[in-house]
């Protein structure tokens, strides 16, 4: 519970991209992602252009790629799904040379996999770039300036604030499980893990009630005061 450690996604810096107003960056990200998603997947060179544009922004922000790439693991489940598609999809099949072997895969599945992988990767990289160059509180302020309903902004704010608290709650519960000879990773002990997660939910819910009490005690009336942000 010491002091220090910044947000895991934010990369401290003072570049043009870091200093740009948050609401502008959010709009650009949204525009970029929508454009990428709407681009027909057969336009291969265009995706190269998108990637070059994105890498240009990353370069301008002076965020090292070695910082962004490891954080792209969130995308792995989608990539696995994409890799499966050529094998399970129907339709005309093509032979694909794969390290001396000829593998017969579905042509439409292959296209779908390509589309999913390239659009997903571009989207994740763009989002990580926003996260790396913008403090979470600035993202919230940006969303607010974009007139996102206040309630949603409040909920996201609390999520950012309490993520570390809840994660460390979970960490302590897992340590306690291990200390009593239960390995949370072993499927044999998944029932115990499930009960722990249930307990974590109840704990967090009760914390929510206590936080609400503390807010009421300081005159909260349903709206976060604008000046306090």
């Amino acid at each position: 519970m010491g002091a220090g450690h910044g947000h895991r996604l934010h990369f401290h810096g003072h570049s043009v991209v870091h200093r740009a107003p948050a609401h502008l960056k959010i709009l650009l990200l949204l525009g970029f992602v929508l454009t990428v998603v709407a681009t027909p997947r057969e336009w291969y060179p265009v995706f190269g252009g998108y990637l070059a544009l994105l890498l240009g922004v990353v370069l301008l922000a002076r965020v090292p790629l070695t910082y962004l790439l490891p954080r792209m693991v969130v995308e792995v489940p989608f990539l696995l799904f994409a890799a499966l598609m050529p094998f399970v999809a129907e339709g005309p099949r093509v032979a694909l040379p794969l390290g001396g072997w000829e593998v017969s895969v579905s042509e439409s599945g292959l296209m779908a996999a390509w589309g999913l992988a390239v659009k997903g990767t571009l989207g994740v990289l763009a989002s990580l770039t926003l996260a790396a160059t913008t403090e979470p509180t600035d993202v919230l302020r940006g969303l607010q300036r974009l007139r996102l309903p206040d309630l949603l902004v409040q909920i996201m704010g609390f999520m950012i604030r309490y993520l570390d608290v809840v994660t460390s709650d979970l960490g302590r519960m897992l340590t306690a499980m291990r200390s009593r000879g239960v390995d949370p990773r072993s499927p044999r002990h998944w029932p115990a893990l499930a009960r722990t997660l249930g307990a974590l939910f109840v704990r967090s819910y009760e914390r929510g009630e206590r936080v609400h009490l503390a807010m009421l005690s300081r005159g909260y009336d349903g709206r976060l005061p604008g000046d306090a942000r």
Binding site: G157, I160, L213, R218, G219, P225, D227, A228
Partner: protein
């Protein structure tokens, strides 16, 4: 003179039927520092939640009245009551819910309608009083536990309360943070009600102690007298830490 806090014949039962308070009477005058002592389950927290109207006869089955500087605690007066009574809860993670220390301390006064430079000044003054002004732009969850407890005190001080209510201020603090907080609390010029199990802390900071047991006030007098009354202590599950004897403390080092 109107007491800052006037509790009359306060009784309360939770909606599930559990009766927590049976007719509590308590007056606290301006500038007093009072320790509220009692074993677990004595009703201390229930009493604290009545002071700013979180609980009242309207939410459960209750009787009696609470008034702060003459203003009765009722739904109609809640906002003003919550300005006058500053409650610091036990877990600072419950109290600090905004993204930065500055925003958190500003939350209360901004709810009271303060804006701009006046708000900024109020926030920095409050942080200064607990020695945390250098941390204004840090997110609360990046502070140490002792620092978070101090910021929690500042969030309440920023509302300029007439009475500061602390729930277990010394719990979970290491000895150095515990002493630093004591130094801060001693220097605050504010009426104080401190709920605690830490009897040496009560003796160090509060000249007066009120003992609550089973929802009743069973003693109200000098803290020194309560802690040296062995029959009273034993009857209400109060125990001094091993090796601590109030009688060995020089009389002129006790708070007045």
């Amino acid at each position: 003179m109107t007491p800052v806090l006037e509790i009359r014949d306060l009784a309360f039962a939770y909606p599930d039927g559990h009766q927590a308070l049976f007719g509590v009477d308590l007056h606290v005058h301006q500038g007093e520092r009072v320790a509220l002592l009692g074993p677990n389950g004595a009703g201390k927290t229930t009493l604290v939640l009545h002071l700013n109207g979180i609980l009242s006869g309207e939410t459960g089955h209750g009787d009696g009245s609470v008034a702060v500087s003459g203003l009765p605690v009722t739904k109609k007066n809640l906002l003003e009551i919550r300005r006058r009574v500053g409650v610091v809860f036990q877990d600072p993670d419950d109290q600090l819910f905004m993204g930065s220390v500055r925003a958190d301390v500003a939350f209360g006064p901004a709810n009271l309608g303060l804006k701009g430079a006046a708000l900024e000044k109020r926030v920095l003054d409050a942080l200064d009083r607990v020695g945390m002004a250098d941390f204004a732009d840090r997110p609360p969850h990046h502070l140490s536990f002792g620092q978070r407890r101090r910021v929690a005190v500042a969030t309440v001080l920023a509302m300029e309360p007439e009475i500061l209510v602390l729930d277990e201020p010394s719990s979970n603090l290491d000895p150095a943070s515990r002493r630093e907080l004591a130094d801060i609390l001693r220097d605050l010029d504010v009426t104080l009600l401190m709920v605690t199990h830490d009897l040496p802390y009560a003796l160090e900071l509060c000249p007066r102690a009120v003992v609550l047991s089973d929802g009743r006030v069973v003693a109200d007098g000098r803290t020194y007298d309560a802690l040296t009354d062995e029959a009273l202590m034993r009857a209400h599950r109060l125990e001094l830490p091993w090796g601590f004897d109030p009688r060995t403390i020089a009389v002129d080092s006790l708070p007045r």
